[in-house]
Structures are given as C-alpha cells and as structure tokens.
Amino acid sequence: MAPSRPRPVLLLTLTLLAACVALTLGQNQEQYERFLLQHFDAKPKGRDDRYCNNRMRYMMKEDRRRDRNPGPKVCKETNTFIHGNSDDIKAICTSRGGRNYVTRTGQAMRQSLRSFQVTTCTWHGGKPLDHCQYRATRDSRMIVIACDEHEHPVHFAESQI
C-alpha cells in the first residue's frame, strides 16, 4: 500500500495551530517591545528635566506611530525609564534576576533582586505632545514588573515600591 497522503483536515488544523502560535508570539513580542519603548533607555543623557522632555517626546511620538489607531495627543503624567542592560531587566522574569512578588491587590509580579538606575519623569505643565514639560527624579531602586509566559517583561509597576 502506498503511503497515505496527509489528510486535508489534519493539514488545515496544523496550519491553523501554527498561525495561532505565531500570532500569540507576535502579540507578546509587540508587548515586550512596547515595554522597552516606554520603560527602557540604555544610556540616558543627563537624566535631568531636559532629558525627560526629550525622551518623553520621543517615546510618545514613537508609541503613536506604532498605534494603528492613534487617538488625541496626551501628555503621559508619570513614566519611569530603567537604565542599563535590557538583558538584566529580562532576567527579573527568571530566578537569575528576580523573585515572585505579590502586589497589594494580589497580582503576581516579579521583583528585581538588585537595584536599577531609574529616572521618573512627571508632567508639570504644558499641553499635548510637543509642549509637555517634565520634571526628572533620579533613583536607584528595586523594580517590580510583570512578565509574560515567555519570560518577557510586559508591564512596569510604578507604584509598588
């Protein structure tokens, strides 16, 4: 007997399954990339108010550019940039760089084992996008993030620590 040809139904199922996995992976990758855009800056210049004005302007514009349906321009009120190496931030999702952390409301997140240099930018005036004015606060502290199932950071928890 000749070897049976793959059955069309099975083939279709496999193709769909592969497509789903690719889609989920893509979505996750997108979330991780957005996390990096919003909360990561490897080598910041100055870390002062001017740094925040420029970095926030860049971040918000880039974020709007990636958005398929960008809405009105807003000044994001508070945003923290983590500095250093992105692999070190990623490591917080693993036992190498982080430990389990439960938020006040019971959400499961990850806390870094070591402290990171961070700059928090807070809006103090000026209106949309090009004129948003920020105040910079430098800090070195433990950070709390949420990770996806692929051990990629996807959320920065501003108010936890």
């Binding site: 807003v74 994001k76 009120e77 508070t78 945003n79 409301t105 807070t122 103090h124 105040r135 108010s159």
Partner: protein, 456 residues
C-alpha cells in the same frame, strides 16, 4: 497647505519629494527628522521662493551654526514673509547669534523666535539682544529656555523690555539667573512701555527676595496675565509677597504656575485669599508642594467663594490623603467654573474617590477633566467611578493610570462607557496590568463608540 512631519529618517528620495511640497506650504514642521546643515541649504531656498510660508519648525535636528547661517540667508530675502521660527535643540552656539541679529533687525515680519535648548551663552544672547533692540524688530515671543544665560544678560533684556512694546512673551526659564538679575529685569517690566503678558522664570535660582520685585510688577502691570516661577525655592515668604501683588485690584493675572516652590500649609492661607478675590485667575499649579490636607482645606475655602473663577487646578503630588477629599467634594458641588482637576500622585485611595463621587454627582459640578493617576486606587472604587461616567455627561477626560484597577475594576468601567449618557472622549489607563481578554474588550468597546479613545 501644511507639512507636518515628526520623527522621520530622511532618505534622499523622500527629501526630494518633501522639497517640492515645502514650496507650496504655509507651515512647515520637520521635528526630529535627523536633518543636518546640508538640508538647510534646500530649506534656505524654500524660504527665498515660498512667499506664503509663515511658520517653520525644525526642533530637535542637528542643524548647527553652519545650518542656521544658510537658513538666515534665506530669511533675509526681502520676499520671505516668515513669522514664526522654532529651532529648539538644534545644536546651536553663540556663533549663530550674529545671524539671528541680522534677521531680527531686517525682518519686522518675524514675530516669534524659539531658541530653547541651545547653548547660546552670555555672549551669544548679548548679540541676539542687539538685534532685538533694533527699531525694525517687532518680535512678540522670545523663548530662551536652557540657553545658558547668565545674570549679565539681564541688563540688555531689561532695555529690550523698556523699548519693545511689541514683546508679549518672554521665556527665560532654566537659566542660572538669581535674584539680583531678576531685580534688574523687573525694572524693565515696570516701564510704561513694556506690555509683557507672559513671563516664565522657572528654575532660575530665585528666592523670596525676587518675589518682592515681581509683586510690584504684578500690582503695577495689568498686562501681565501669566507668571511661571515653578521650581524656585521661594517658600511661604515668597508666596506671601507674590500674593500681596496679586491681590492688588490692578493685577489681572490669569495663569499662575507655582509648582515645586516649597510652599507649605502656611502659604495656602495667602493663596486661598487670592482664589476668593481674584476673578481673573483661571489656572493655578501647585504641583509638588507639601500642602498636605490642612493646606488643601484652606485652598478649598477660597475655591468655595462665589467670586472664585478658577478653571484648572493642578495639585499633583501635594501630600494629600483621603482626609481632604470632603473639602474638595464640597468645592465640586458649589464651584461651577472648575473644569480641570489634576490630583494624581496623592494617596486618596478608594475611600477618597467615594467621597469625591458625591461632589461630582452634584448638578452644579461641570468638571470636564479629572486626573487620578497613581492615587492608590483599586477595583473597589470602580463602581463609584462607573456611576460618575454614566451620569455625568460633562466629563470628557479621565485619567486613572498607575492604579491597580485590575480586570474586575476596568470591566465595571466598560459597562458605563457603553451607556449613552457617558460622553467620555478620553480614558487614560497607562501602566495598568490587564489580561489580554480585557485588553481586547477595551479595543472592541472603543471601536463601537465613536469619539471615545482609550489610551493604554
């Protein structure tokens, strides 16, 4: 026609395409486009040939002094009618200033010059001021933030204020000026010839000592409607002096920015009096001052006065807790002019929102924009927020970023967003950790309700 491009890398072919559209545009904006001096040659020829071009914005490009020289050559063409020029953060130095001097003294059409974030330095700004002093110059707005000005520049700026009745806006924030320099500046501001409307002196190393001089200006000059002295440690004594000038019937202040000024509850007493008597005052920022609940109580007393006409109040990160929410709530229930309330970064908690809910639901409350980011809120207060959303059509903007609302809380909000009475245009939910199901639900909801944007 307008050309408005931001954050784009310029390929040669893209640039050729843009050059032709620049020739027919009224406004050209190419911020963060990695432009360099070589592009300035082309922009210079656009300035020469395009007579309808009135606004040129090239912020955040490495143009350098050589680039500016080329631009200014174009600007000097008699046929060029440019009115507004923005060159913030373009890597310019004092060498650019002689070109600006020529333009300022030759072009009465130029009304706005924004040069912030360039290291022009003391000598550069002196040269710039020579252009400003030319009788031909009719500049209305001058922005020199982060330009490394020194106290030595204030003598000439003072003369410019005395001789330039056209000058309306002066921004010299973020320069190391100090009290003595501001004293000199204030002499110019007191001149009968000076019509300045807006003065920005943020982070200029001034103390309460300058506030006496600024107070005299406020009392003498009804033209001055906007004053920013944020990020200077003027403290309560400084605020007391400013308030003295603000309370003068002559003063017609509209916008007052006093963020991070070291103000404590004691300063709030003076500010409260200003709020209840100064009907011209529409915007007040007190961000980052340790007002605490007692300070806020005092401000609320002023805001409840029928004469208070404040429209926007910024009290973010002022050390407020649930305890002052009762007073804020009663302001919301009585004050009909307040449109915008920024109170993020205060630990008011779910209990605080429950209390604010009462004031917000009052028919007298016309609030349009409410900012409650990072206020220690959880899903528990979302029921109250949902009621507000479905019964307060005046509310168009709500920020709840950085709160642990979770899926449960956001789902409650979604129900209200579907309500026809909810006229919210913008729901800001930055940095809230949600499941992908709720994320998707929000996207579907947004698509089903035109005019609503949910910002995640």
């Amino acid at each position: 026609m307008d050309l408005d491009i931001q954050c784009e890398e310029m390929s040669a072919s893209r640039w050729t395409e843009l050059k032709s559209s620049m020739n027919t545009s009224k406004t050209v904006r190419l911020d963060d486009c990695s432009l360099s001096a070589s592009h300035c040659k082309d922009i210079g020829s656009v300035l020469r040939s395009n007579q309808i071009l009135t606004e040129l914005t090239l912020n955040n490009n490495e143009l350098g002094d050589s680039g500016v020289e080329l631009l200014c050559k174009g600007l000097l063409t008699p046929s060029c009618n440019l009115q507004k020029l923005w060159l913030q953060n373009c890597n310019l130095t004092d060498a650019s200033c002689k070109h600006f001097r020529s333009v300022l003294s030759a072009k009465p059409t130029l009304t706005e010059l924004h040069l912030g974030d360039n290291k022009l330095g003391t000598s550069g700004v002196k040269v710039l001021c020579e252009g400003l002093m030319d009788p031909n110059c009719k500049l209305q707005k001058l922005q020199l933030e982060y330009c490394e000005l020194s106290p030595d520049n204030c003598e000439m700026l003072c003369s410019a204020l005395r001789t330039k009745p056209s000058l309306r806006v002066l921004n010299i924030s973020n320069n190391k000026l100090g009290d003595a320099a501001v004293k000199v500046l204030c002499q110019g501001l007191m001149d009968p010839n000076c019509n300045l409307q807006s003065l920005h002196l943020e982070n200029c190393r001034i103390t309460a000592a300058s506030c006496g001089d600024l107070s005299s200006v406020l009392a003498r000059k009804p033209s001055l409607t906007e004053l920013s002295v944020g990020e200077n440690k003027i403290g309560d004594p400084g605020v007391a002096l400013l308030c003295h000038g603000l309370l003068n019937p002559n003063c017609k202040i509209e916008k007052l920015w006093l963020w991070e000024c070291g103000i404590s509850p004691a300063g709030c007493k003076d500010l409260s009096q200003v709020l209840s008597t100064k009907e011209s005052l529409t915007e007040l920022s007190l961000i980052g001052n340790g007002l605490g609940d007692p300070g806020m109580e005092l401000l609320c007393q002023g805001l409840k006065d029928p004469k208070a006409k404040l429209q926007a109040l910024w009290i973010r990160e002022c050390g407020l807790t649930t305890a002052c929410c009762k007073s804020i709530s009663s302001v919301l229930a009585t004050n009909q002019t307040l449109r915008e309330l920024h109170m993020g970064g205060n630990k008011i908690g779910d209990a605080g929102v429950e209390i604010l809910h009462e004031g917000l639901m009052n028919p007298s409350c016309n609030l349009q924009s409410l900012w409650l980011g990072n206020c220690s809120l959880s899903a528990a207060c979302c029921g109250s927020l949902a009621t507000i959303l479905s019964s307060k059509p005046s509310l168009t903007e709500l920020d709840l970023s950085n709160n642990s609302l979770e899926d449960e809380g956001v789902k409650k909000l979604c129900e209200s967003l579907k309500h026809p009475n909810c006229k919210l245009q913008q729901l800001v939910l930055y940095d809230i950790y949600l499941s992908s199901e709720v994320d998707d639900e929000l996207k579907v909801l947004e698509e089903s309700k035109p005019g609503l944007k949910i910002i995640l």
